[in-house]
Every structure is written in structure tokens, then in C-alpha cells.
Assembly symmetry: C2
Homo-oligomer: 322 residues x 2
């Protein structure tokens, strides 16, 4: 995996964009050099290797398209969410302004399509279809997330559909693009897509769990950060679903309290989580998705040894810091 | 031309989008039904007819892609410019909010690519290349426009490059897409593109002229609207270029005055325009572009009678209300 990651990082960080207008292209250069593990474009290359493709140069444009698309969505999402930081650095709309974030995000989305156009033309209708499908779904996920923000409660199925759209379909799509460009048939494409989508869902649940139960020494963010801002996570949605009437006033009190006004907000909410065993539900569902991902992988019709890299990656992603 | 316009309007207004999330798809439905002459997608069909294509159904997806792209740029530009109205109706960010305008614009840009993907796959690399080239140029033009807004002065060549990018390349690109899909060779594609770009430039100059000198009864907007808001137009940029030192204080005074504070702002600025004959310069340059457009058209290697519809359209666009 590491040699693929090196290939991806080099391809992305040596991407050339016009010098001017600087207010259009500097933010694009900036976000693309903020680093990160580049998991999504690496997945595209790994899927290609899985299906026996040797010429990674043929896959690089699709991998770049995936990373460009992801960074477009980061620029616009950070603006919509008014996030001040991204990977510990100032976000584009903070470093420049809202208009520049809108337009440089647009430009990066166009650049994603420009990259995908460089792929083998035989597969162009299929790769385009997947990129556009994933892109619309990510937009839908972001819209649902914004819609749900203002709601008091949320059905678990709506929450799961939202995280599927917002984060998991891109993992599946990144893998599927690599599969398409390696000549995999549609059934095999679907299996690798499903593997990615399920890994993504499991990963998102783990993210929700770690935010509340992570080891403060290794987590990297403030434990309880989601609780502090009342973020809709699996844990909160589950709690709302199963909470007994007599505990509702306590939960509502905590949801309406700032951590400044109620310094025990995080620990009090964790007590409710514990009382209703919502972590157990999250762990169980994470296991279901993980299991499903591995089933999809084992159904894939490629030599076993070629599956190892992706299985190892999934394992690393899903046992992180637990 | 009218039967093509009818085809286009029907194709656009019967486009189907998912019902939900409503905050993502309602604004897309809304902007696409605000009407307008649909000049750009009609140009795509007209270019196809010019090159002898009979099957308009094969061209419709490209025409829709052009109109979707145009409407994406309207949503985002209106937000960035904080415009309250578009075609006399509330703009998307006013009717909903800024975040919804960002995301529904993004969605419509993706939908533009989704449409272009439906075109004849043989031409897909070429059509994609043109759509992405035009899209990046339109983004560049919008960024330059925003950059120039805050500047005191502006070189004429920068102004002309900005309007070329912001408005003319899409007319050229719309025509080129129709040409590509009709099998026109690259030299013919370039000629029809150049025709469109020059018509676009002439049209933009005419727009600048009409805003200051249009007939109030037929213009449809307030005459002098650009002067009131100090919009950088050909006339103002030219004036700044040629004005004698002794008139600079007067010009600066008018640029710093609101029309409420100086009710004669429009007529005083027009006096300066007249003194320095900036309208004459604009008319002359408009004629240069118009002439160039007609030269490109006459260099095109298709039967003369097939050129008539586009020549008539250009004529209608460029002699409007003068």
C-alpha cells in the first residue's frame, strides 16, 4: 500500500494549475497540500491492483479525480459548516473569504472531471457515471446533514442513510473506479463497491464511538467533542430512540446546556449513554458492517493473495485506537 | 430556430430530478423554470444543424448540459454578487439561503456533466474537454470580475479578457459542442467557436452601451443602472483610459457619490462619456467583433443556406434595440 500512497501523493502534490487568477488557484493549491492519508485515491489504485492492473499510470487520473472531488467537498462543506480549521490549518473561507471558497471549490470540481476525462476512453462512460452518481449522493448527504441539524429528533434509518451518502459512497466509488479501469465486470464492480461502502459505514460508526469513548492520549481530538456541540451521532440518535420517559428531561437539559454552563455535560451525557448501552448497539452495528464488508471481499473472484492489501487496510482503519 | 428553441425548452422543463432532499432539488427545479430565451443550448442544436446533423435527439443532452452549467453559474454568481433578483424573480440564496445556493449549484454542475456523459461516446473525450475548458474559464472570469471590483482602475485589455471569459467562451463552447457531436473536424470546430466568442464579445459591448444609451421604453432595465453602481463597463474603463487630468476630479467625485446624494450622477457621467466619445469607441469595437464573427462564419465549409439561421440569430442579438 505504501508505494501506491507515495505514487498518489506525488501525483497530487505535483499537479499543475495556472498561476492566475491567484484567488482562484491558490486556494486549490493550498487545500491539496494540506496532506492527509489520501485514503480515497489510494483505494482507487488498490482496487486496480486487486483486479490485476499493472499500469498504475492509467489509473492515476481517476485517483486524482477522487481526491480533487473530495477536496472540493471539503472546501464547500467547511464553508457551509463555518468550520475554522481543517487538518489543523485555517480553512479556505477563513484564510480567504466565502466567495473565494465557493469559486475555488467549483473550480476543483471541474478539475476532478477534467482528470477523469484523461482515463482510458473505452471506460469513460462508466467512470463518468460513477463519479457523477457519487457526487450527487455526497451533495444529498450534505443537504440531509444540514436539514437534520435543525431538527429535534432523527430516525436511526435517516441517520444511517445520511452517513452512507455523506461519507461511505465515496469510498465505494473510489474502489469501483479502479475496478472499472481494470476491466472488472459489473458484478465484481458491485462487490468491491459494497466492500467500500460497508467499510465506510463501519468507519463512521467507529468515529462516533471514539469521539465519546476514545483514549484522550491517542484520539487527537477532544474526547466528547460531539457531545459538546450536540452533534447527531449514532450514540445520540440511539439514545433518543430508546430513552425512557423519565430520563428525557435530563437529556433535554443537557442538549440545551453549553459546557460552560454545565461543566459536567460530557460526563452526564456519557452516563445516559451507559445506562442505555448505546455504545454496545454501536459496536454491534459496526461489527455487522465490518462483517458484511469482509463477506463482499471474499465473494470477489480474484486470487486470495491480491486481496490481502485491502483487507489489511480495512483492518487498520477499523481497529484504530480501540 | 424556433423549432429548436421549442425542443430545448421542452427538454429542460421536463427534466426529472429526485423529489428529496427537497432543499437540494427544489432550487434546481426552480432556477430551470425561470425561463429565458435558452440561447446557449439553442446554439448547440443550431451548430449541429449547421454541420448537417439531423438527429437532434443525439444533441439534446449536450444542449441540456450547457443550460445546466449556465444555471449553476447563475446560482453561484448571484450568491457571490448578493443579487436579489434573477429574471425578475427572487434568487436562490434569497428564496432559500446561502448554503442551499452553494449546494444546489454544485448539484447542477454535476448534473451538467451527467448530461454530457449521455452523448455519443465516440465524442465523449472531446465534449468533456470543451465543457471543462469552458467551465474553468467561466470560473476564472468570475474571479477576475470579483478581483477587479475592489480596484480603482482597470486596463482595457484586462476588462476585455474578463468579459471574454465570463460570458463569451460559453457561447463559443455551446456551438463547438454541437459541432463536435456532428462530426465536424477541428478546424471547423475552431471557426464556429470563434464565431460564438466574437458574437459574445460584441453582445457584451452592446449590453454596456445599451445600459447607458438604451431607449428607456424598450430597454427593460433602468437606463444608467451600471453608472449608478459604478459597474466596470467598457464605457467606464475607456473613460478612465482617455480622460484628461482636469476632468479626473469630476469623475472621481461621481464615482464616490451615491445617486441619492447626487441625483444628476447618471447624466453627469454621461456628459463625460460624451465629451470623450467613449460610446464611439464601444461602437467601433463592437463592429470589429461583429465583423470578425461574420468572417469566421463565411470561412466555414458548409452550404451557404445552412448558415442563414445562425447569421439571423447573430443579427437579432446584435441589432437589438438600437
Amino acid at each position: 500500500m505504501q508505494h501506491l500512497q507515495k505514487l498518489v501523493i506525488e501525483a497530487i502534490e505535483t499537479s499543475q494549475f495556472p498561476e492566475t487568477p491567484t484567488n482562484l488557484y491558490d486556494p486549490i493549491r493550498y487545500i491539496l497540500t494540506l496532506g492527509g492519508k489520501r485514503v480515497r485515491p489510494v483505494l482507487t489504485l488498490m482496487a486496480a491492483e486487486l483486479f490485476g492492473m499493472q499500469e498504475m499510470e492509467e489509473i492515476i487520473p481517476a485517483a486524482k479525480a477522487v481526491e480533487f472531488f473530495h477536496n472540493f467537498s471539503l472546501i464547500h462543506d467547511d464553508l457551509m459548516d463555518q468550520a475554522p480549521l481543517r487538518r489543523g490549518k485555517t480553512t479556505v473561507h477563513e484564510k480567504w473569504d466565502a466567495n473565494i471558497a465557493i469559486l475555488s471549490g467549483d473550480g476543483l470540481l471541474v478539475k476532478a472531471y477534467e482528470e477523469i476525462s484523461k482515463c482510458n476512453p473505452v471506460y469513460l462512460p462508466a467512470t463518468l457515471r460513477i463519479l457523477s452518481k457519487v457526487a450527487m449522493e455526497v451533495c444529498e448527504g450534505q443537504q440531509l446533514d444540514m436539514d437534520y441539524e435543525s431538527r429535534g429528533s432523527l430516525l436511526m434509518e435517516d441517520y444511517l442513510e445520511m452517513i452512507r451518502l455523506k461519507t461511505s459512497v465515496l469510498l465505494g466509488g473510489a474502489l469501483q473506479l479502479g475496478a472499472i479501469l481494470s476491466g472488472a465486470n459489473e458484478q465484481q464492480q458491485q462487490l468491491i463497491y459494497d466492500f467500500g461502502e460497508n467499510v465506510g459505514l463501519a468507519f463512521q460508526l467507529q468515529d462516533d464511538i471514539l469521539d465519546a469513548y476514545g483514549d484522550p492520549d491517542t484520539f487527537g481530538k477532544i474526547v466528547g467533542g460531539d457531545i459538546i456541540i450536540n452533534k447527531k451521532t449514532f450514540l445520540l440518535v440511539k439514545l433518543m430512540e430508546v430513552i425512557a420517559p423519565e430520563d428525557v428531561p435530563m437529556m433535554q437539559h443537557l442538549l440545551h446546556a453549553t459546557v460552560e454552563a454545565v461543566p459536567t455535560k460530557v460526563e452526564d451525557m456519557l452516563k445516559l449513554y451507559d445506562k442505555y448501552q448505546v455504545r454496545k448497539s454501536a459496536d454491534e452495528l459496526k461489527d455487522v458492517y465490518t462483517q458484511r464488508a469482509f463477506e463482499k471481499m471474499s465473494a470477489l473472484d480474484v486470487p486470495k493473495e491480491r486481496k490481502e492489501a485491502l483487507l489489511l487496510l480495512a483492518n487498520n482503519l477499523l481497529v484504530r485506537q480501540q
